[in-house]
C-alpha cells in the first residue's frame, strides 16, 4: 500500500498545470469626451488605478490604465494634467510621470528619477514644471524627450501650481522637513526658470484658481493640526497685492479643492460639503451648495468645464473602492459610480 502511495506521489508531481483563469476585458480604443478619475490607492501598496467616465454615453471604465497597458499604474497617483491630447499622470511614491494618449489610454512615455513628484504644469512649448514634496527644488522637464532638463531652487517643497502670464505660482503646502512656516506662494519666471518672488498667504495653501478678471485665488486650510483659521485670498498676481482675505469661521474646518467654473466667475470648494460663491461676493458662503449627507465624506471636487456638472469623490474607509457622485450645475444629485481606491483628482477630457 505504501508503494502505491509513493507511486501516486510521483505521478501527481508530474501533473502540474497552469491556467490563466482571468478573462481579459475588451480593450477600449477610442475614449469619447469625459473625465479621467485618478484613484490614488494606498501608500506603499502600489494599487493606484485610473478610471474613465464617458459623460454623454454614461459609461464608466475602471482600471483602464492596466487594461490597455498591462501594468499597474503604481503607488499613489497624485494628479493628472491634460495637455495637447496627452494625459500626464504623476505617480507620487513611484517617483514618475506617465504620459498616456488621452483618447486611447495607451502608454506614450514616462519621466522617471523624481523624488516625490506632486503636480505637473506645462509652461510653454515642450517645457513643464513638476512640483515635489521632499525636494527643495522644482523639476524642469522636456515633455517631448521625457527627460529632466533642470532644477529650480525654491528652498521649499511645492505642491499645486498655476500660471498667470509668464509666471508660475507654486504653493508651499507642506511644512514637512522645514523649519519655516508653510504659508507662501513661490513665484517662478518661466522664461528664466528662476524663482523671482514670493507672496505670504495663510498656513498650508492647498489649491488655487484664476478668475475671469485675472485675479489669483488661494485657499489655505490653516494647518495640519488646525493651528489657525482657514483663509481664502484674492491676489492681483502682477503686483502681488492682496485684494481680499476671507477668514473661515471654524478653526477646525479644512476647506480645500478650490475650483472655478468655465466662465471664471464662480468659485467652488469643499468644506464638509460643496460651497459656491461668486468672485464678487463680499463674504464666504454660510451654507453649502451641496450638502454632505451623513455617511459621506467628500474628498475631491471637479467641475466639468463644458457642462458645469459637479463631480465629488468619496473614499469611504480608504481601504476599498470609493465612489464618485455626480451633481448637475444646480447641485441636484444625478448618480454615483464605484471607482478604485481613494478616487481623487479629475482630468476633464475634451
Amino acid at each position: 500500500m505504501i508503494r502505491n502511495f509513493i507511486f501516486l506521489l510521483f505521478i501527481s508531481f508530474a501533473i502540474v498545470s497552469c491556467k490563466d483563469n482571468t478573462s481579459e476585458p475588451q480593450p477600449v480604443v477610442n475614449l469619447k469626451n469625459g473625465v479621467f478619475i485618478l484613484n490614488q490607492g494606498n501608500f506603499t501598496a502600489g494599487n493606484a488605478s485610473l478610471s474613465y467616465y464617458e459623460s454623454a454615453e454614461n459609461i464608466l471604465y475602471n482600471d483602464i490604465f492596466y487594461t490597455i497597458n498591462k501594468v499597474p499604474l503604481g503607488d499613489v497617483a497624485q494628479s493628472i494634467t491634460l495637455f495637447n491630447g496627452i494625459a500626464y499622470i504623476v505617480v507620487n511614491n513611484s517617483g514618475l510621470v506617465y504620459a498616456i494618449d488621452a483618447r486611447t489610454a495607451e502608454f506614450q512615455s514616462k519621466i522617471t528619477g523624481l523624488v516625490s513628484p506632486r503636480y505637473l504644469l506645462p509652461v510653454g512649448g515642450d517645457k513643464a514644471y513638476i512640483s515635489d514634496l521632499y525636494e527643495k527644488n522644482m523639476y524642469i522637464v522636456n515633455l517631448h524627450t521625457s527627460e529632466i532638463a533642470g532644477l529650480i531652487d525654491v528652498g521649499r517643497s511645492t505642491e499645486e501650481m498655476i500660471m498667470a502670464g509668464n509666471e508660475v505660482f507654486a504653493a508651499n503646502w507642506s511644512g514637512y522637513l522645514q523649519s519655516v512656516r508653510n504659508d507662501k506662494l513661490l513665484i517662478i519666471n518661466t522664461t528664466t526658470d528662476l524663482m523671482v518672488d514670493s507672496i505670504q498667504v495663510g498656513l498650508e495653501p492647498n489649491s488655487m484658481a484664476i478668475d475671469r478678471e485675472g485675479n489669483l485665488w488661494v485657499l489655505c486650510s490653516g494647518g495640519y493640526l488646525d493651528e489657525e483659521f482657514p483663509t481664502l485670498w484674492k491676489i492681483e498676481p502682477g503686483s502681488r497685492s492682496v485684494l481680499v482675505t476671507f477668514t473661515f469661521p471654524l478653526i477646525n474646518g479644512n476647506p480645500d479643492n478650490l475650483e472655478i467654473n468655465r466662465s471664471g466667475d464662480s468659485l467652488f470648494f469643499l468644506n464638509d460639503g460643496v460651497y459656491r460663491m461668486s468672485i464678487h461676493d463680499a463674504s464666504l458662503p454660510e451654507t453649502p451648495f451641496i450638502l454632505e449627507e451623513s455617511g459621506r465624506n467628500f474628498l475631491y471636487l471637479g467641475i466639468d468645464p463644458n457642462s458645469g456638472m459637479i463631480y465629488v469623490s468619496d473614499a469611504l474607509d480608504y481601504s476599498k473602492n470609493g465612489y464618485v457622485y455626480i451633481f448637475n450645475a444646480s447641485g441636484d444629485f444625478q448618480q454615483e459610480m464605484e471607482t478604485g481606491i481613494i478616487p481623487g483628482p479629475f482630468g476633464f477630457n475634451y
Binding site: 500500500m1 505504501i2 502511495f5 501516486l8 506521489l9 501527481s12 508531481f13 508530474a14 501533473i15 502540474v16 498545470s17 497552469c18 491556467k19 490563466d20 483563469n21 482571468t22 481579459e24 506603499t44 501598496a45 502600489g46 494599487n47 482600471d63 492596466y66 498591462k70 501594468v71 499597474p72 503604481g74 503607488d75 511614491n93 513611484s94 517617483g95 514618475l96 506617465y98 514616462k110 522617471t112 528619477g113 523624481l114 523624488v115 516625490s116 521632499y134 525636494e135 527644488n137 529632466i148 532644477l151 531652487d153 522637513l177 493640526l225 488646525d226 477646525n252 479644512n254 455617511g295 465624506n297 473614499a315 469611504l316 474607509d317 480608504y318 481601504s319 476599498k320 473602492n321 481606491i341
Partner: protein, 660 residues
C-alpha cells in the same frame, strides 16, 4: 476493524491531499506576474491525544531540517499558522485561525515577546537554532499560557538541561544571493552546573533576479537594497542546588539590521532612497523550579530591553546632493515581569494548575508625545479531572488587570473523551472567551491614538477528533480533524477621522470559522525510515460589522487570509542518506475588502516546493552532515505581499559538525 477503517481513510485522505497539491490548477497571475512569495500556509499537525488543552509541537525532524532558518520559515512549512512574509530576512508576522497578527502571542519561556507598541512579533528575527521546543496553541487553548491570543499562541522553550544534545555543534550555510549563516552551540557540564552557549550570524545581500511587471516596460532586474544581517547569542546557566530543585538563567541578545527595498512599482524613483531598520534586544529570564512527583512549582522573572530605529532618507537632486532624512524614528521599550505557577496532581484524578503574573511595559518613542507605560496583573486557575481514564474535563478561569482596569473574566471549558477503550480515538471540544488589549500604538500614537479604546473580545468554540495507531511493523499513523467557530467583536481598526489623521476605533466584527485536517504516517521499510505529514486548512474569516452590512461588503474574507491551504512534508533516511521534501499550497488572498476581484486586490494561489538531500557521517563521538537544498524547485513566481518580489529557484549548502 477500526484500524482498517482508519487506514483506508488515511489512504484516501493522503491521495486527496497529494492530488490537490500536485494536480490542482495553479492560476497564473493575469495581472502583473506574481513574484515568488515565501508566504506559506501551515496546516494542522497532530495534537496530544488525551489532552483537553491542545498544544501542537513542531516536529523535531522539521526543526532539524530548518535549523539554519528563522521561525518565519519554520512555521511557514508546517502548522496551522499563516505567515505573511516579505521574503527571507524581511518582516514576517503570524496569523492563526484567520485572526490578526496582534492576536498571535509569541511566548518565550513563558513570557510574551510581542512588541507592546504594535502587538506583533517579527518572526524573521527569531533564529530557530536559539530555541529547543516550539509549539502552538490555537484559539482558546492559548488561555492556559496567556490572555489576549484571540488567534492563538506560539510557545518557544529553552530546556534547562541539554540531556542528549551534542556537546558541541557547528553549522555553516552557503546560500544563493550571497547568503551566509553560521551557528554554534556549546554545552558544558560540571556536576550540578550546566552552561549552554549559542551563537548565530546570518547575512544576505538578497539580490535575486526577478521579472518586474510593475513598470513599463516589463523587465528582469536584480533586487536591490534588500540585504539583512543578524547576529546574536544566548547564554544559559542551569544549576541544581538540591534534589527536585533547579535554577536557570538565560539571556538572549541580538543585533539586527535590515534594508527595506522599494516595491516593484517604485524602483524608478529618484533620490537614491535608503530605507532601513536596525534594532537591538536583550531578553533575560531567570527561574526557579521545584518538581517532585505530581507537584510542579515555578517562580520566574523576565527583563526585556529593546531599541529599534527606523530611517528613511533620500538625496537631493541638485549639485549639493544633500542627504535629506525624511523619517528618523526611534523606539525604546523596557519590560519587567514576575510570574509564579503551580501544578498539582491528586490521586483522585484531579489536577490543579494556578498562576499569577505581574508586569510593566515602558516605551519611549519619537511617535508618542511622552513616555508611556502599561501595568499588567494576571491570574489564572485550571481544574482538570479525569474520569475512568477515558474522559477528561477541564475548566479554566483567567483574570487580567491592565492599568487598574479589570477585564471581564476569560473562561475556558473543555473535554476530551476516548471513544473506545482499546483505541486511541478521542473526541474533544471546548468553548472559551478571550480579550485582547489595545496596543500602545493604538492608545498613544501621535497624532491619532485613542486612549478610550476597549479590549477586543472573542468567543470560540471548537471540536475535533484525534486518532493514532501503531502497527506491528513500527508503522504509526495519526489523524487529526478539528473544526472551530469564533466571533471577535470590537476589533480595532484604524479609520479616517474628522481631522486630517487616522484614528483607531473598536468597530469591526469578525466571524472566523474553519476546518483543520492533518495526518501523519511514520515507519520503516527495510532500511528506510520515513515520515510523511499532510495537512489541509479551510479558513473562512469574514467581516460582519454593522458598517460592512450597510455598505454591502459584509461576508468578505479579510485581507491576506487565504481560504485554502495545504502542505505535504516527507522525510526519508537510508543508511545515513537523508531526503526531505516539502510542498505548500497557498490559496488566493485578497488585499482589499472589495467583493469584485481584480489583479490588484487578489493575489493568485501558488505552489511552493523545497527539497534537500543529505549525508550523515559518524565516527565515534563525531558527526558530520552535508546537505544540499533546493528551494522553490519549480521556480514559481508569486507574491506574499502585493508588489513585493520573491526569489525563484535558489540553493543552500549546509555543513554541520557535532561532537557528542
Amino acid at each position: 476493524m477500526i484500524n482498517r477503517l482508519i487506514y483506508r481513510f488515511f489512504t484516501h485522505f493522503l491521495i486527496m491531499v497529494v492530488g490537490l497539491i500536485f494536480s490542482s490548477n495553479i492560476y497564473a497571475q493575469s495581472v502583473p506576474d506574481t513574484i515568488l512569495l515565501q508566504e506559506l500556509e501551515i496546516n494542522a499537525q497532530t495534537g496530544l491525544n488525551g489532552s483537553v488543552i491542545k498544544e501542537t509541537h513542531i516536529d523535531s525532524l522539521i526543526k532539524r531540517e530548518l535549523h539554519h532558518l528563522s521561525l518565519a520559515e519554520l512555521l511557514g512549512v508546517h502548522s496551522e499558522i499563516y505567515v505573511k512574509t516579505q521574503g527571507r530576512g524581511g518582516l514576517a508576522t503570524a496569523s492563526i485561525r484567520g485572526a490578526g497578527a496582534s492576536h498571535t502571542k509569541v511566548l518565550w519561556n513563558g513570557f510574551s515577546i510581542n512588541s507592546p507598541m504594535l502587538g506583533q512579533l517579527d518572526l524573521s528575527l527569531v533564529p530557530t537554532s536559539f530555541v529547543d521546543d516550539i509549539s502552538f496553541s490555537a484559539g482558546g487553548n492559548s488561555l492556559v499560557n496567556t490572555g489576549g491570543a484571540l488567534g492563538g499562541s506560539i510557545n518557544l522553550v529553552n530546556r534547562p538541561f541539554r540531556n542528549n544534545s551534542p556537546l558541541f555543534e557547528f553549522e555553516q550555510v552557503f546560500g544563493s544571493y550571497k547568503t551566509y549563516a553560521t551557528s554554534a552551540d556549546l554545552g558544558l557540564k560540571n556536576g550540578n552546573f550546566e552552561s549552554s552557549t549559542r551563537f548565530n550570524f546570518q547575512t544576505s545581500e538578497n539580490n535575486f533576479w526577478y521579472r518586474n511587471n510593475g513598470i513599463i516596460p516589463t523587465e528582469w532586474m536584480q533586487q536591490e537594497q534588500a540585504g539583512f544581517s543578524n547576529v546574536g547569542f544566548t547564554q544559559q546557566f542551569s544549576y541544581v542546588p538540591r534534589q527536585y530543585h533547579f535554577i536557570s538563567l538565560i539571556s538572549w541578545n541580538q543585533w539586527n539590521k535590515r534594508d527595506i527595498p522599494p516595491i516593484m512599482t517604485n524602483v524608478q524613483k529618484g533620490g537614491d532612497q535608503d530605507e532601513n531598520q536596525q534594532d537591538f534586544f536583550s531578553r533575560n529570564v531567570i527561574n526557579w523550579t521545584y518538581n517532585k512527583g505530581a507537584t510542579f512549582f515555578e517562580l520566574k522573572s523576565a527583563v526585556f530591553l529593546e531599541n529599534q530605529k527606523y530611517n528613511l532618507q533620500t538625496i537631493t537632486g541638485d549639485e549639493t546632493a544633500d542627504i535629506v532624512t525624511l523619517i528618523n524614528s526611534e523606539n525604546k521599550s523596557n519590560a519587567l515581569f514576575i510570574k509564579a505557577s503551580l501544578e498539582q496532581g491528586f490521586n483522585n484524578g484531579f489536577t490543579l494548575t494556578a498562576g499569577s503574573d505581574l508586569g510593566i511595559n515602558a516605551v519611549q518613542s519619537t511617535n508618542y508625545n511622552s513616555m508611556k507605560e502599561r501595568r499588567l496583573s494576571m491570574a489564572y486557575a485550571m481544574i482538570e479531572k479525569d474520569f475512568f481514564q477515558r474522559l477528561t474535563i477541564s475548566f479554566l478561569l483567567r483574570l487580567e488587570v491592565a492599568d487598574r482596569v479589570l477585564l471581564p473574566i476569560m473562561p475556558l471549558f473543555g473535554f476530551t473523551y476516548q471513544l473506545f477503550k482499546n483505541e486511541e480515538l478521542y473526541i474533544s471540544g471546548s468553548i472559551a472567551r478571550n480579550y485582547n488589549l489595545p496596543t500602545l500604538n493604538d492608545l498613544y500614537w501621535y497624532p491619532g491614538g485613542n486612549p478610550d479604546l476597549i479590549a477586543e473580545n472573542g468567543i470560540e468554540v471548537e471540536g475535533g477528533l484525534n486518532y493514532s495507531v501503531q502497527f506491528n511493523n513500527n508503522t504509526s499513523i495519526t489523524v487529526n480533524l478539528t473544526g472551530y467557530s469564533s466571533w471577535i467583536n470590537d476589533w480595532i481598526q484604524w479609520t479616517p477621522s474628522d481631522y486630517r489623521y487616522w484614528t483607531p476605533e473598536n468597530i469591526a466584527e469578525v466571524y472566523a470559522r474553519g476546518l483543520e485536517c492533518s495526518t501523519e504516517v511514520s515507519g520503516s521499510l527495510n532500511a528506510i525510515s520515513y515520515q510523511v505529514m499532510a495537512a489541509y486548512s479551510l479558513t473562512k474569516t469574514t467581516i460582519e460589522s454593522a458598517v460592512a452590512k450597510i455598505e454591502g461588503f459584509a461576508g468578505t474574507q479579510l485581507i491576506y487570509i487565504p481560504v485554502h491551504t495545504a502542505s505535504l512534508v516527507a522525510f526519508a533516511n537510508y543508511k545515513g542518506f537523508t531526503l526531505n521534501w516539502t510542498t505548500s499550497y497557498i490559496g488566493q488572498r485578497t488585499t482589499t475588502l472589495d467583493k469584485e476581484k481584480n489583479y490588484a486586490n487578489a493575489l493568485p494561489a501558488y505552489l511552493l516546493s523545497n527539497a534537500s538531500l543529505g549525508r550523515i557521517f559518524t565516527f565515534n563521538r563525531f558527526g558530520f552532515e552535508l546537505r544540499f537544498k533546493v528551494n522553490n524547485i519549480i521556480g514559481a513566481e508569486y507574491q506574499a505581499v502585493l508588489w513585493r518580489p520573491m526569489p525563484g529557484r535558489n540553493y543552500d549548502l549546509i555543513l554541520t559538525f557535532n561532537i557528542n
